[in-house]
């Protein structure tokens, strides 16, 4: 095991897959010699050349659809959006072409495309550089949605995403990029649809998304001091969603809190709570509780910014409230 940052681990995974398969290529603004705004491709241009590390004009709709056409015709593009907000110009083609072509062609076309970018309300990035967007993609048949939270998962899930024949939305939270953690030596792949128990517990289940996993772990540590044993689940992929792991945990704890910095309506917690009601109503000792970011665009000023997303203290309070139900 080595200690690596999240970005380094993901980049190592990308380099391994580019080495393994000459049909893997990356396109993005600054993805070439510069190595990506978030250092996602540093050093790769020199290894793999300009046809596989392609600097793009600011033409997101164009290169998103172009990569869709490329994926349908035999190569394996990775679109590096830098800030994932920039994907929104491509929504029309993503939802009408990228997600549907396999189905429309009766499985005769494949769609091995990775859509990656950095997300999250983090720092003073303002309304156009702070979005999450994953519920849109969870709603549409055809996409996988991946939200790694550790360096090892960033590597292992990116490698799986690149080998996958379906469109994958691969989201890296800006608050996670520089965290360090152990990464296994040698080949390391993490399957989609397999949640991780980030911390085992018995009194309450906290399912958290992306950066919120780390805050939930901090909250669990604080709660342990109060004698409360919280289990923290990191779903790792939101589509597919590993409900079996959630339900097994809930069966044990009887209480579920979903922490998601993204907006509440039609979000991750809505889906999970509904599935819990459908499949495990009798396991519930209290209603499923959700803790979300505020329903507003992300602001710039730190004064406005602070209350936007749940912090550790808010998660602790939410757990106490849930246990008091």
């Amino acid at each position: 095991m080595r200690e690596m940052t999240y970005v380094e681990a993901a980049r190592e995974g990308l380099a391994e897959e580019m080495e393994r398969d000459p049909l893997v290529w990356v396109v993005g603004e600054g993805a070439g010699p510069r190595g990506g705004n978030f250092n996602t491709t540093v050093g790769l241009y020199d290894r793999f050349g300009p046809e596989r590390l392609v600097d793009a004009p600011i033409s997101e709709r164009g290169f998103t659809a172009l990569c869709t056409g490329a994926a349908a015709t035999g190569t394996r593009p990775i679109v590096d959006f830098m800030f994932i907000d920039f994907i929104t110009d491509g929504f029309g083609d993503l939802f009408n072409q990228t997600s549907k072509l396999q189905w429309m062609s009766g499985g005769r076309l494949k769609m091995p495309i990775v859509l990656r970018g950095c997300m999250g309300v983090y720092g003073s990035n303002g309304a156009h550089h702070s979005g999450n967007y994953y519920p849109f993609f969870m709603h549409v048949p055809g996409f996988h949605v991946v939200v790694p939270t550790t360096p090892a998962d960033a590597k292992g899930l990116l490698k799986t995403a690149i080998r996958c024949d379906d469109p994958v939305l691969f989201l890296e939270h800006k608050g996670l990029l520089n965290i360090k953690g152990p990464v296994p030596d040698g080949e390391h792949l993490v399957p989609f649809g397999k949640a991780a128990i980030a911390r085992a517990g018995k009194d309450v289940t906290i399912l958290a998304v992306a950066l919120m996993v780390r805050r939930a772990l901090e909250a669990a540590e604080a709660l342990a001091g109060e004698g409360i044993s919280a289990e923290v689940i990191d779903p790792r992929t939101l589509a597919p969603l590993d409900m079996d792991t959630v339900l097994a945990s809930l069966h044990k704890t009887g209480r579920l809190l979903v922490v998601d910095e993204d907006f509440a309506p039609c979000g991750v917690a809505s889906e999970i709570a509904t599935q819990v009601m459908e499949r495990a109503f009798d396991d519930l000792d209290a209603p499923v509780k959700r803790l979300n970011g505020l329903f507003a665009p992300a602001p710039y000023s730190a004064a406005l910014f602070a209350p936007m997303v749940p912090d550790t203290a808010a998660i602790v309070r939410a757990v106490r409230d849930l246990l008091a139900e």
Binding site: P57, G62, A72, G74, N96, M104, G107, L109, P191, A239
Partner: protein
């Protein structure tokens, strides 16, 4: 032209245009008889474009098509029986009944699909061209689109990217003067699509899209250049659909009967037949024999389609995802799929 193209190829162009026409006429009859619902966007009047372009394509070249794609599909090699069966919603259709008129697929022969959204054929074809380049092949990728697409961002972004990256793509605009019913004259102040090529730095040519030999010549040049690494081209084919936007639609209020009659008088198939006879490239008997063979082929295709089975309802959610190894559990999002 006739010296370089050869008699056999000249007759093949005639046969192909006629096959499209007869197939469309059969679909018109089937629609009128209530044999299918949904859209039926015929290519009648525009046959010379797909025919002249696809005559240069190999099976491994990629074509990305439009909502008016029957002609593109047939010219690329989709059998009429599979096209007709698709519109009848049959399991034997080229999309297994999933698509209908607007969503035709046969990627195994390079027909990469037709789209109900106007514009993406351009960007998708640029992507097909990128694959060809990265895979070090001399395959080309063709986008068909109408005048309705050229004021859409796909046109700007797709053609700019393909040109900037020198991709082997051919962009074929079928300018039939109306985007559904909005006149091109009202949609832009620059009604020369070919002239827009200058804005991106690729060759642009304008030609009579009802003249199959003119289309054939321009497409031949563009395909050869693209195969040789010379980059993309934009070809504007001036043409006209002589039937309604879609079968069963009211075709009035936006164009005149006179205008339709004028274009019918310039029918690309009749004009080509006359030219073949006038140039002594074929006798009436030669062409009548082709007519009879095409007629028989389409009759057979209709019979095949009508007698084909419907798709199984149990298959409707198949192929939302590939059967890839990336999954540890099924990808269903939840609810009824759980």
């Amino acid at each position: 032209m006739s010296e370089t193209i050869g008699r056999e190829r000249m007759l093949a162009l005639y046969r192909q245009m006629l096959q499209i026409r007869r197939c469309e006429e059969a679909l018109v009859r089937l629609y009128a008889a209530g044999k299918f619902a949904g859209a039926c966007h015929t290519y009648i009047g525009e046959e010379a474009v797909a025919t002249g372009v696809c005559a240069h394509l190999r099976m491994d070249d990629a074509v990305f098509s439009t909502h008016r794609g029957h002609g593109h599909a047939l010219a690329k090699g989709v059998p009429p029986a599979e096209l007709i069966a698709e519109l009848l919603g049959k399991a034997t259709g080229c999309s297994g009944g999933r698509g209908g008129s607007m969503h035709l697929f046969k990627p195994e022969i390079g027909f990469m699909g037709s789209s109900g959204i106007v514009g993406p054929s351009i960007t998708l074809a640029a992507g097909g061209a990128y694959s060809a380049k990265l895979m070090k092949t001399d395959r080309v990728s063709v986008a068909f689109f109408g005048d309705g697409a050229v004021n859409n961002g796909s046109f700007h972004e797709g053609i700019n990217l393909a040109t900037a990256w020198r991709l082997p793509a051919i962009f074929v605009c079928e300018n039939n003067l109306y985007a559904t019913e909005v006149p091109f004259l009202q949609a832009t102040r620059n009604t020369s699509v070919a002239s827009r090529a200058a804005a991106y730095g690729l060759p642009g040519v304008e030609l009579d899209g009802n003249d199959v030999l003119a289309v054939y010549a321009a497409a031949g040049e563009a395909v050869a250049r693209a195969r040789a690494g010379g980059g993309p081209a934009l070809i504007e084919c001036k043409t006209y659909r002589t039937r309604a936007h879609s079968e069963g639609m009211r075709d009035a209020g936006y164009r005149t009967a006179d205008e339709i009659a004028q274009w019918r008088a310039r029918d690309p198939i009749k004009a080509y037949r006359d030219a073949l006879l006038a140039g002594a490239h074929a006798s009436s008997a030669d062409l009548d024999a082709i007519d009879a063979a095409v007629k028989a082929q389409i009759e057979e295709a209709v019979a095949f389609a009508e007698s084909s089975p419907l798709p199984s309802p149990a298959t409707v959610a198949d192929h939302v995802y590939s059967a890839g190894a990336c999954l540890d559990v099924q990808p269903a999002g939840g609810g009824q799929h759980a």
